[in-house]
Symmetry: C2
Subunit: 214 residues, 2 copies
């Protein structure tokens, strides 16, 4: 399998964790989001993903885009280390948490959105950071409340093994730290994040451990 | 089942289509997004979904949030009218298309984001509409390119039966029309949308057909 990735792409980071948890080997194909105005916007990568967004996974003749769709695909093709629980209610909870990040939090702080804020809306650095922290804070508060109120929360977002929810949460926490969001208000998230950070699968997926890291 | 919904909520509209396609009866619980500063922000609805976003589905003791997680839950509990194809590659394609809308398009035009643009960033009406059309246009162009290039596209986004991708696309097209986006550049989307509009399941889910429509 080939994964189109960039060391700091939050969505690619999710899939790297999933691949590592399932112990699936893959070839990393770096796509530099900043070089030459963004390699993801060039014809070569648009031929892979017309959405011009990372990640994309190639598996033989099959190309899959969207990080959550890739994780579901891996789950179906390689079920052995499951990233979803067995019961429908549990699966729905994990997917809901993953989507609280992947649909309602991360897309608002994506690189192309920040570019629009700065270049089209002419926001200054402080207003841009305020935007980022606002939406990240809302997203993390939602996940924190889900984790705090539900007995299904364990060492990880759902029980005591990592799931797709943790694959999404950890890269979002990485971003939150990077942009100076205070994590003290999210004790359950901080605890889960620390438990994930102790696992080799998460460590090997970390941006700083990637071949294209700067 | 009880569905927390608002007639014009794009994400609730997706789930209404899915429920109708599967012929599953449900009780609609209206949550008015504009009344009293937004009923979704009140304590009553936050007890259901701490994310304060529609939709949410209650099925006995199980509460599911996030429209795509709800559709996956319905698919697992009520597989009889499938909204995903049988093969892993096809399922990945449908999920990828659904997420092109649900992750990368719709969240940028959500009500709470528009409020931030107007109240915090002080954008005027024209700049707000420009923002909306920009992200909607990018999202629809991505889906259009996927539909145009892939032989798996049929009368609907994937083959000749409706899938989760159509459940997401139709409400996004409704929004695009509402905000004055020209759809001429998206012939495949327009064709699929017209085929969906001919089906009673889509008609009954339309905002104008809801009990809380204004």
């Amino acid at each position: 399998m080939r994964l189109y990735t960039y060391f700091r792409s939050s969505a690619a980071y999710r899939v790297r964790i999933a691949l590592n948890l399932k112990a699936l080997p893959y070839e990393a194909v770096p796509v530099h989001l900043l070089r030459d105005g963004g390699e993801q916007l060039g014809a070569a990568f648009r031929a892979v993903n017309p959405g011009a967004l990372l990640p994309a996974l190639e598996d033989g003749d099959t190309t899959v885009t969207q990080s959550l769709a890739i994780m579901e695909y891996l789950e179906e093709r390689h079920p052995l280390v499951p990233l979803l629980p067995a019961d429908a209610a549990g699966r729905a909870r994990v997917r809901g948490l993953a989507m609280d990040i992947a649909c309602d939090t991360h897309p608002l702080g994506n690189l192309r959105v920040l570019k629009y804020l700065v270049h089209t809306l002419k926001l200054d650095e402080e207003a841009k950071l305020e935007w980022l922290r606002h939406w990240m804070g809302l997203g993390l508060a939602t996940v924190e409340e889900h984790l705090a109120r539900d007995v299904a929360t364990g060492r990880f977002c759902h029980g005591d093994t990592p799931s797709m929810a943790d694959c999404c949460l950890v890269p979002q926490v990485f971003n939150a730290r990077r942009f100076g969001l205070d994590l003290e208000s999210y004790p359950n998230i901080a605890r889960v994040d620390a438990n994930c950070a102790a696992l080799p699968a998460f460590q090997a997926a970390h941006p700083s451990a990637q071949p294209d890291a700067e």
